[in-house]
């Protein structure tokens, strides 16, 4: 049996060609390994909320679609390093989610094409079935399927990158997506002063930023990530002015149609002023401009 196993092993290349190409294509900077176990990084990455939640909030609040808030797909040729490609893949991912939620099919197709291009260059293009997504995007009746398939694609990419011990790209992808969602929310909030829910939505991003900073702290040896970490810490300084107070109160529950429906009695209060929003927006825009330019 051992001989047969050796025989089988000798026939197996060990790594698929796309994996080899992927590893070869990485920047030297992004080859710097993390100082902590990949499983820990994976569990923190898993916590980061989907930018789709913010887009859904904006639409539900009656905020109109605004394409000028997004990063133009025409900027694609600017992204030549894996660092920039991964960040902008996250940014375009958020933009795609935003256009999908607002059922802006034509805009969505442009973002999809940019995403596919970046994903191919990062050798993770196999996760995007552009034909299926493109077909779904042509009909607004397919919105649910479109959102489902694109979310699944991004989840698969993150899982794949972590399996390949390339969580750094996953961190960049999620950070890019978060920065873009932050930027959109801040711009919308600035145009709608007094919109408490939007202001609070910005304030509560303090929790997510803490997780992102924790992730970046594992890659301090990576020059590009260390530079971005410095900018994110400046953003953190603005968030430190915001107080989030959590009060726990036992919840109650009832079963309705086979679903346990919880009544959450806990609360959070978020103390954030319009001035805080302005400062956070300024820092966020500065970071985003570095990423997309």
């Amino acid at each position: 049996m051992a001989i047969a196993a050796l025989f089988l092993l000798s026939c197996s290349p060990g790594k698929k060609p796309d994996e080899q190409a992927f590893e070869k294509s990485l920047d030297s900077a992004s080859n710097q390994g993390p100082t902590i176990d990949d499983e820990v990084i994976g569990s923190i990455l898993d916590q980061i909320p989907s930018p789709l939640e913010i887009s859904a909030l904006l639409k539900k609040s009656g905020i109109k679609y605004n394409a000028s808030l997004l990063n133009s797909p025409d900027n694609l040729p600017k992204y030549n390093s894996n660092f920039k490609m991964a960040l902008n893949l996250g940014i375009y991912g958020t933009d795609l989610g935003y256009t999908n939620i607002y059922e802006q099919n034509q805009g969505g197709i442009k973002y999809l094409s940019a995403i596919k291009d970046l994903a191919n260059q990062l050798n993770i293009g196999q996760f995007f079935d552009i034909e299926t997504i493109g077909r779904l995007a042509t009909n607004s009746k397919n919105l649910d399927s479109l959102l489902l398939i694109t979310t699944q694609n991004f989840n698969s990419i993150n899982e794949y990158l972590q399996q390949q011990n390339r969580s750094n790209l996953s961190v960049l992808l999620l950070t890019g997506g978060w920065i873009e969602a932050m930027q959109i929310t801040c711009q919308v909030a600035a145009g709608n002063p007094g919109h408490t829910e939007l202001r609070e939505k910005i304030g509560e991003q303090k929790i997510t930023l803490e997780q992102i900073l924790l992730l970046f702290s594992f890659y301090e040896n990576d020059e590009n990530m260390a530079s971005l970490l410095t900018d994110l810490k400046a953003l953190e300084a603005e968030f430190n002015k915001i107080n989030i107070t959590y009060t726990y109160k036992e919840s109650s529950m009832e079963v309705v149609d086979g679903v346990a429906v919880i009544k959450d009695n806990s609360t959070t209060t978020i103390d954030i002023t319009d001035e805080d929003v302005k400062n956070i927006m300024s820092r966020t825009n500065s970071i985003r401009n570095k990423i997309i330019s």
Partner: protein, 143 residues
């Protein structure tokens, strides 16, 4: 002769491999099967694999930042009709109990959580009299 020996060896390996597959937990398949079972209006966010490794693991935990004003649904899928002793319990960042899918001794297949307090929450899966220690779960949100 060499060919015969090699064939016997390969068949032995294949049989050994398939024997191992019997009884293995296909948590990925079960978590994917859970996605379409999310109630209407919920947008898919995450799927979770629940592999108790035949009872060797008594809990599997994930975490997520839930946000105020958003309603989340977490459902459970096991091989059969019900959740097969699979329980999902939600804890806040300070490990206070927020929700459980085991209500008055009854195993429920899904929980709906309209979040009123933003923060990190722990999504813990445990087994209570489970036959397979295997399942999947999907999480969705709606505003």
């Amino acid at each position: 002769m060499k060919r015969i020996i090699l064939s016997i060896l390969l068949i032995s390996i294949a049989s050994f491999g398939s024997a191992r597959l019997v009884g293995q937990c296909d948590a990925e398949n079960l978590s994917n099967a859970c996605i379409p079972k999310l109630s209407g209006g919920f947008n898919f966010l995450k799927s979770y694999k629940i592999d108790g490794q035949g009872g060797a693991k008594d809990k599997i935990e994930y975490s997520y930042v839930f946000t105020k004003g958003t309603q989340y649904m977490i459902n459970l899928c096991a091989g059969g009709n019900g959740p097969d002793g699979l329980v999902v319990t939600l804890y806040d960042s300070k490990r206070n109990l927020v929700a459980s899918s085991k209500v008055n001794g009854q195993f429920i297949s899904a929980i709906a959580y309209p979040c009123n307090a933003t923060g990190i929450y722990y999504i813990q899966y445990t087994f209570d009299g489970s036959a397979t220690y295997c399942g999947g779960s999907a999480m969705g949100f709606k505003r």
